[in-house]
C-alpha cells in the first residue's frame, strides 16, 4: 500500500532501526576496530595491529577455546535434537501421562539457566550430590564430574541437553501436528510398516523443522555462558573455557579490551559460518528428500 506521507514509513521504523543499529550493528564494527588496539581501560589505547589475534593464537589458546565451544555445541545440538525428536514422537498421543511428560519436559526451557545450573551443581556435587552418590554406587571414582577435566565439559553439555530438550520437543510436536494424517494412512494402506512410515513420510516432512531446531540450538549453545560461569568458571584446567566466558574473562578479569574484542570478532565470525553451513546442508538434504 502507498504510505499517506513519504516520511511515514521511516518515522515508524526509526526507533527500531536506531536501537538495532546502536546495539547490534555498530558494536560489531567497533569490536573489529578495537581488536587492533591494546587498551587496559586506564591508559590510552595503543594501535598494535594483529598482535591481539597473534597473542590469542599463541600456545593454541584460541584453538582450545574454539574446540571446547565446538564440542559443547556439538554434544548439545545432537543430544537435544535426538532426545527432542524421540520424546516428541513418544508424547504425541492422548492420555494424562503423555500430557504430564510434555509439560514437565518443556518446563525446564522456561526456568532460568541460573536455577538449572545451581540445581545440577548440587545434584552432581562430589560429596552430597544425589547423582554423584548414584554414580559412586555404580563404581565411579569418588570425584565430582565437574572437578574432572575429562568429564566437566560433557557434564555441562548434559545439563544443556536437559534444559533445551523441551524446546526441541515442542517445535517437533508442532511439526508432527502439521503432517496430514491422510498421508500416513495412505502409506499404511500401501503396506508400509511403522518404521517405513517414519522413514519415508514423517522424516522428510520434518526436514525444515529439524533444520530450524538445529540452527536455533546451535546458536543458543554456542553462546553458552551461565553454566560455565556458575558451575565451573572455565575449569578444571581450562577444560570448560567456552567463547563467551573467555571474552568475559578478558574484559572483566584481565581488563584487556583489545583481546576481548578480538575474541568477540572470532566468535561472531565462527557463529555466522556455522549457522550458514548448517542451513546449507539442511536445505540440500530437504531438496534431496523431495
Amino acid at each position: 500500500m502507498t504510505p499517506r506521507a513519504r516520511w511515514h514509513p521511516w518515522a515508524m521504523l526509526a526507533p527500531t532501526l536506531a536501537l538495532l543499529v546502536t546495539f547490534f550493528v555498530l558494536p560489531i564494527g567497533v569490536a573489529a576496530y578495537q581488536s587492533f588496539f591494546s587498551w587496559d581501560l586506564l591508559t590510552p589505547p595503543r594501535f598494535v595491529g594483529a598482535a591481539n589475534y597473534r597473542a590469542l593464537a599463541a600456545h593454541g589458546h584460541l584453538f582450545h577455546i574454539a574446540l571446547h565451544t565446538a564440542v559443547y555445541s556439538g554434544l548439545v545440538v545432537t543430544g537435544t535434537m535426538s532426545a527432542g525428536l524421540a520424546l516428541a514422537l513418544l508424547v504425541d498421543r492422548p492420555g494424562r501421562v503423555f500430557a504430564l511428560a510434555r509439560t514437565s519436559i518443556f518446563s525446564a526451557y522456561v526456568v532460568s539457566w541460573v536455577a538449572v545450573a545451581l540445581l545440577w551443581m548440587w545434584m552432581l556435587d562430589g560429596n552430597g550430590g544425589i547423582v554423584g552418590g548414584a554414580l559412586r554406587a555404580l563404581g565411579a571414582p569418588p570425584t565430582s564430574l565437574l572437578g574432572d577435566p575429562r568429564w566437566a565439559l560433557p557434564a555441562l553439555a548434559a545439563v544443556g541437553v536437559w534444559k533445551l530438550t523441551g524446546y526441541a520437543m515442542v517445535v517437533f510436536l508442532a511439526g508432527l501436528r502439521s503432517l496430514p494424517r491422510a498421508l500416513l494412512e495412505a502409506a499404511a494402506l500401501d503396506g508400509a510398516g511403522p518404521w517405513a512410515r517414519f522413514r519415508h513420510v514423517t522424516m522428510p516432512h520434518l526436514g525444515p523443522t529439524a533444520a530450524f531446531v538445529a540452527t536455533t540450538t546451535l546458536v543458543t549453545s554456542f553462546q553458552a555462558f551461565d553454566v560455565v560461569r556458575i558451575m565451573t568458571q572455565g575449569g578444571p584446567a581450562r577444560a570448560t573455557e567456552l567463547f563467551v566466558y573467555a571474552i568475559y574473562e578478558q574484559i572483566f578479569l584481565n581488563l584487556s579490551v583489545g583481546k576481548a574484542s578480538a575474541l568477540a570478532v572470532v566468535f561472531f565470525l565462527l557463529l555466522l559460518a556455522l549457522a550458514g553451513l548448517q542451513l546449507r546442508v539442511w536445505r540440500a538434504r530437504a531438496g534431496e528428500a523431495r
Binding site: 504510505p3 527500531t16 569490536a31 504430564l100 511428560a101 532460568s112 541460573v114 545434584m123 576481548a260
Partner: protein
C-alpha cells in the same frame, strides 16, 4: 497380550521421562526444607526430617528478595512492553507500506537476528561506562527495547491481514497511529501475546546481561542474587542455595502453569 504391551511400553517410557524432568525440581524443594545438620550428615536422605523453613529465612536475610524481584519484573516487563510497542509500527511499515528503502530496512532487521548480545557486550559496556549508565535500568532495558525477532514476527503476522481493513480505516479518517495500535494490534493479538510472554520470561530469567551491566547492588536482578548465594562462601549450605532457587523459579513456573498453552504455541509455532 501384544496389543496391551504395545500400549504399556510408551506409557512407561513417558512416565520415566516425566520423572527425569520432575525429580530435579522435587530434589530442589526437598533440599530447601532440610537443615545444615541434615545436609552434612546424610545429604542424600530422601525426605527432610521435618519442614524446616530456616533456609528461606536465611535467603531473605542474605539478600533483599523483594527489591530484586521488583527490579527484575520491572526490567522484564519494560523490555516486553517496549518490544511490542516498537515492533507494531515497524512491522506495519515493513509488511504493508511500499517505499524505496524497504528491502534495506528488512535486511537490517534480518541481519540483527544473527547478532547475539554476547558478541556485542564489550563495546556496549564501554559505551554505557562512558555515558555513566552502568548500574542503571537504562543499561538493562534499552539494548533489548527493539527486538529483531519480534519485529520480524509482527511483520509476518501483519502480512496475513487483508489490505481492505486498512483501506476501510483510512476512508473512515483513522490516523496511521489509530490503524497500527487500535485496528491492527487486535487483529494480530495471538502473535503479540506470544511475543510479550516469551520476552518477559526470557528476560526475567536472564543472567548474562545484568551480570555484565551491573557492578553493585543498585539494580541487581534476582538471578544474580541467587547465583551470589552460592558464590558468597556458602560452602556446603546447599539448602540455602536451593531455597533461593525455589524463590527464583517458583514465579516463572506459576506463570508457566497459567500460560502453558500460549507458551508452547509461541515456541512451537515460531
Amino acid at each position: 497380550m501384544t496389543a496391551s504391551r504395545a500400549r504399556l511400553l510408551p506409557w512407561l517410557v513417558a512416565a520415566v521421562a516425566a520423572a527425569a524432568w520432575l525429580f530435579p525440581y522435587a530434589w530442589m524443594v526437598l533440599t530447601s526444607f532440610k537443615t545444615l545438620e541434615e545436609i552434612v550428615q546424610d545429604p542424600t536422605a530422601p525426605l527432610p526430617r521435618h519442614l524446616d523453613l530456616d533456609a528461606y529465612r536465611e535467603v531473605f536475610a542474605a539478600m533483599p528478595v523483594w527489591r530484586y524481584t521488583a527490579v527484575t519484573a520491572v526490567m522484564a516487563g519494560s523490555i516486553a512492553a517496549a518490544q511490542v510497542a516498537l515492533a507494531l509500527p515497524a512491522g506495519y511499515a515493513l509488511a504493508k507500506l511500499r517505499f524505496a528503502g524497504r528491502p534495506f530496512a528488512v535486511g537490517v532487521v534480518l541481519a540483527c537476528l544473527l547478532v547475539p548480545a554476547q558478541a556485542t557486550f564489550v563495546p556496549v559496556f564501554l559505551m554505557f561506562a562512558k555515558l555513566r549508565m552502568v548500574d542503571t535500568m537504562g543499561a538493562l532495558i534499552l539494548p533489548f527495547a527493539a527486538s529483531a525477532l519480534g519485529t520480524f514476527l509482527v511483520r509476518q503476522a501483519m502480512m496475513s491481514v487483508p489490505d481492505e481493513l486498512i483501506e476501510a480505516a483510512r476512508m473512515d479518517g483513522a490516523s496511521e497511529w489509530t490503524i497500527v495500535y487500535r485496528i491492527l494490534a487486535p487483529a494480530i493479538r495471538p502473535t503479540l501475546v506470544s511475543l510479550l510472554l516469551v520476552s518477559f520470561v526470557l528476560h526475567y530469567s536472564d543472567y548474562f546481561w545484568p551480570l555484565v551491566m551491573t557492578t553493585d547492588d543498585g539494580v541487581r536482578t534476582l538471578p544474580l542474587g541467587v547465583a551470589l548465594l552460592r558464590e558468597q562462601g556458602t560452602g556446603v549450605r546447599w539448602h540455602i542455595v536451593m531455597a533461593g532457587n525455589v524463590v527464583l523459579s517458583a514465579p516463572v513456573l506459576v506463570l508457566f502453569a497459567a500460560a502453558q498453552r500460549q507458551l508452547m504455541r509461541a515456541v512451537g509455532g515460531r
